[in-house]
Structures are given as structure tokens and as C-alpha cells.
């Protein structure tokens, strides 16, 4: 009896022959080139079926015996030996006539118009940089060159040998930690730690635990919950104020900020629609339901924001919040720990800030502490 090897992926897929996908309407999705065929653990990759079941069988996959051309990370289904499963999350392709699942995706070029956006279910190694406007999602991500205004999501860690220029809109989010050389005009958010080897300029940082910037922290806002270390210089000039907020969960704070922006947007829209609706019956019919829908949204968001504030107030622990600066501190910097806020009004060096009693206090760092922090 002859068998046909039915594939649940494209066996002729070639990542070097990518092309934008034309759409129904005749336009082309230039940023979607399907660079990789993702498979998840336990997913059926191929199955032997009787030859008669296929409408147009490819002779290449007709076999006398049901022996899978299985390569690494592929296993027969224990419940149905005629099925081949993926053993790990990764990408599937044919290599030397065998079906293989690889768990590390190497992109040996810049991510940009040549590759399209990349979404991968395991680890990703980018040997170039990431161009502005492109999005990359994977588990652990390593990037060798510059990241420019891109949207990067690592579900675990992110590491860049070079830096990140967010151009005011780009972000890097990580489920665990982020490490990169420098950050400029971008947003970094990590559930655990952020380490910047050089400077951080005009950026927004959210760190669930510690944030360490070895060079300058100049301009922008930092939200953290434990220790913030700035090695060289904290603060810049009056045109780029630097703010540090500590003591509240940075991610809840971020959510609250987002809800507040959304509330502002909805209020403005509601105002516009109300003016239109007031023009007469015809307009009322058109804009009335829209106004009602916006009001419903505002109500939901208001409740959500209230819940977040309650959550944030319930979990207050400021004992671990500390800002340590072995280098120079410039005036104009604002430090907030829990409910208290302090503004630096003079030049200092080698200081630390923490909450004592009900005040933010500034104490000199001991020589050992300063040396130890600088060394890290």
C-alpha cells in the first residue's frame, strides 16, 4: 500500500525567496514577508494518509512505507504513529531531505524591508540591526547592531550589543531583563532589570526591579521599584528634565498613564460628537449612538483606573527604593519615592536618596559603596 506524506507546513518554503503578499484589494503588504514558519510543541507537522485521499498528490511525497523523514526535534505521535509532531517550539523546514524543527532563528542581515516583520516562538539572533517601523517578537532576542525606532517584544530577555534610538515612538519590552549599550528617545520596559552600559537620553524606562545606567541619565522618566544606579551623571539641563518615580509597581503606573491618555482622547472625541449631534435630528441619529458608546467606554475605563489605584495603594513598600549616584548629580532632577517628592537644586556628587520616616533624605555614598556600584 502506498502512502502520501501530507504536510501541515509548506515543504517548498524558501526564506530566501520572500515576496510581499498581495491582498484582496490589490494592494501589497510590504512589511509582511512570512520570513519563518513557526511551529509549536506538539503541533502536527506531517501525516501519512492513503494515497487515494489526496486530490493532487505530489509524486515527491508518495512512499511505499510510512517512514518519516524526521530530523531534529520531530517525533512520531505516540497516539498515532502515522503523524509527526514538533517536539519544541521553533521553525520547520526541510534540510537534506529531512523535516527539521530549529529552535534558534538566526537572521544574518538587518531586519527591515528585506525581511519584513518577524514573529518567532523561540530564540532569535539578529546579526544586523532593526530598521525603524519594523516589529520583532520572540522569546529571547539578541541584536548585534543599532535598533532604530522599532517595536521589539521579547517574552524573556533582550540583549543588544549596540544601542537603541527610539525616535520618539519605538519601544523594547521584555518579560525579564533588558541589556543594551545606550538608549535614546525610546521606551524600555522590563519586568525585572534594565542595564544600560553607556547613557540613557530622553527616554522612558520601566523596570520591575533594578535599573542601572553606567553612563549618563539625562532627560526622560524612570519608573522603578528597587534600586536605580546612575554611574556617571544624573540630570542634564532645564530643557530636558529628568524624573525618577519609585515605590509603585511601574507596570501598573504605566497602565494608569495609558488609561488617562485614553480618557483624554475619548473626552475630546465625545465633545466633537456632541457638537455634531446637537445640529439636528439627522445628526443626532448618526452621532447619538456614538456618544453613548464613548460614554460607556469612559465608564469602563474609569472603573478600571479606580481598581488600579486601589491595587497600587494596597501594595506599598518603599523600604527597598533607593537612588544611588556614584557620579555627578545636576540640579533640576526630580526624585519621587512613594508619596514624597524632592527636587535637586544644586550640584552634588556621590550621593544616595531614599525614604526615611516621611522624608526623602540624601546621604553621601560610602567609598566602598561607590566603588562597588561603579565596578558593576
Amino acid at each position: 500500500m502506498a502512502y502520501y506524506l501530507k504536510h501541515y507546513f509548506d515543504p517548498d518554503f524558501n526564506y530566501q525567496q520572500r515576496a510581499p503578499v498581495s491582498t484582496y484589494g490589490g494592494s501589497v503588504a510590504h512589511r509582511y514577508l512570512a520570513y519563518v514558519q513557526n511551529v509549536s510543541m506538539g503541533q502536527v507537522l506531517a501525516e501519512f494518509v492513503p494515497i487515494g485521499d489526496e486530490d493532487a498528490p505530489n509524486p515527491k511525497y508518495i512512499m511505499e512505507r510510512p517512514n518519516f523523514p524526521a530530523g531534529p526535534n520531530c517525533v512520531p505521535d505516540p497516539e498515532n504513529p502515522l503523524r509527526l509532531l514538533a517536539e519544541k517550539n521553533g521553525y520547520v523546514f526541510y534540510l537534506d531531505g529531512k523535516i527539521c524543527v530549529k529552535i534558534l532563528l538566526n537572521v544574518r542581515q538587518n531586519i527591515g524591508i528585506g525581511t519584513g516583520n518577524i514573529f518567532f516562538v523561540n530564540d532569535l539572533n539578529v546579526h544586523g540591526g532593526i530598521h525603524a517601523g519594523f516589529s520583532v517578537t520572540a522569546k529571547n532576542i539578541k541584536v548585534r547592531d543599532l535598533i532604530e525606532g522599532a517595536f521589539v517584544r521579547a517574552t524573556e530577555t533582550f540583549f543588544a550589543q549596540n544601542g537603541f534610538n527610539g525616535a520618539g515612538k519605538g519601544f523594547i519590552h521584555a518579560g525579564r531583563s533588558i541589556r543594551l549599550a545606550f538608549c535614546e528617545n525610546g521606551e524600555l520596559a522590563a519586568k525585572e532589570n534594565i542595564l544600560i552600559d553607556q547613557s540613557c537620553l530622553n527616554s522612558t524606562l520601566y523596570g520591575g526591579k533594578n535599573i542601572m545606567i553606567k553612563g549618563r541619565l539625562q532627560g526622560g522618566t524612570v519608573y522603578a521599584n528597587r534600586l536605580v544606579v546612575v554611574g556617571e551623571r544624573l540630570g542634564g539641563n532645564s530643557t530636558s528634565p529628568t524624573r525618577i518615580f519609585m515605590g509603585h509597581d511601574p507596570f501598573i503606573t504605566r497602565q494608569i498613564v495609558e488609561w488617562e491618555q485614553e480618557i483624554d482622547r475619548l473626552r475630546q472625541k465625545h465633545m466633537t460628537y456632541s457638537v455634531e449631534a446637537a445640529k439636528g435630528e439627522f445628526f443626532q441619529k448618526q452621532y447619538g449612538p456614538k456618544c453613548a458608546f464613548i460614554l460607556r467606554k469612559l465608564q469602563i475605563i474609569g472603573e478600571k483606573r479606580k481598581q488600579l489605584w486601589e491595587k497600587i495603594s494596597a501594595a506599598q513598600d518603599f523600604s527597598q527604593c533607593r537612588v544611588a549616584v556614584p557620579g555627578e548629580i545636576r540640579p533640576g532632577t526630580e526624585i519621587t519615592i512613594g508619596p514624597k517628592s524632592a527636587r535637586i537644586t544644586d550640584y552634588f556628587s556621590c550621593m544616595q536618596f531614599f525614604l526615611e520616616g516621611n522624608e526623602i533624605v540624601m546621604r553621601p555614598l560610602s567609598r566602598e559603596e561607590a566603588t562597588s556600584l561603579s565596578r558593576h
Partner: protein, 114 residues
């Protein structure tokens, strides 16, 4: 494609899937989605997985493949009404990290365009 019903809003698509969806051939499904989705400036897709049972969730892989195409277009992808059992399997395979889970109908409302 009877197993998929699609509610189409200005820039959000809600795909309600029944059991059959996950048994569909992934390539077939992706093909449909590829044609369907890019014709509009879609920002969000919500997979309403109300009827899905745990035995098919392996096919989260299939779902994910489809989703990977969507996210390739910068589309945010959400799962709604996902059963506890499916949630466990998605967590086990770490696929869960790649989705946003909607907890209530109100969450879904917020995603709809004004």
C-alpha cells in the same frame, strides 16, 4: 469555513471560532486570513474561543501560525473566553506569552473602534 464567523468593525475583527476551526488545515486557514485581513487597516483581532475544547488546543500551533501572520502586519492579537484547560496547555508550551488574554466582555468593548 463554516466554523469561523467574523464580525467586522472598522479596524477590529472578531473571529469567533468553534471546535472545527482548530481542526482546519493551518495553511488553508492562513490563506483565508491572509486574503481577508490585509484589505483593511486592521489593528486588532480578537479570537473568541468560547467553544474550543482542550483536546484541540495543540492546534494553538495552527492558531499561532495564523496569528504570526497577523502580527507580521503589526496587528495586536487577543484571546477571549478561552477555557481553563486550553489556557493550561498554552501556558505549558509558553505560547501564552505571545497573546493578550481578554478577561471580560468589557475588555472586548474597549478594543472596538469609537
Amino acid at each position: 469555513m463554516d466554523d469561523i464567523s467574523i464580525r467586522d468593525y472598522a479596524d477590529t475583527i472578531i473571529i469567533h471560532c468553534t471546535n472545527g476551526f482548530l481542526q482546519l488545515d493551518a495553511i488553508q486557514f492562513m490563506d483565508v486570513c491572509r486574503k481577508l485581513i490585509p484589505q483593511k487597516a486592521i489593528k486588532s483581532i480578537i479570537f473568541d474561543l468560547f467553544d474550543i475544547t482542550s483536546c484541540e488546543i495543540f492546534s494553538a500551533g495552527n492558531l499561532l501560525q495564523a496569528v504570526s501572520h497577523f502580527t507580521g502586519l503589526n496587528i495586536r492579537t487577543y484571546l477571549y473566553q478561552i477555557p481553563e484547560s486550553c489556557l493550561c496547555i498554552l501556558q505549558k508550551t509558553n505560547l501564552i506569552d505571545f497573546f493578550a488574554i481578554l478577561e471580560s466582555e468589557e475588555d472586548m468593548l474597549l478594543l472596538l473602534p469609537d
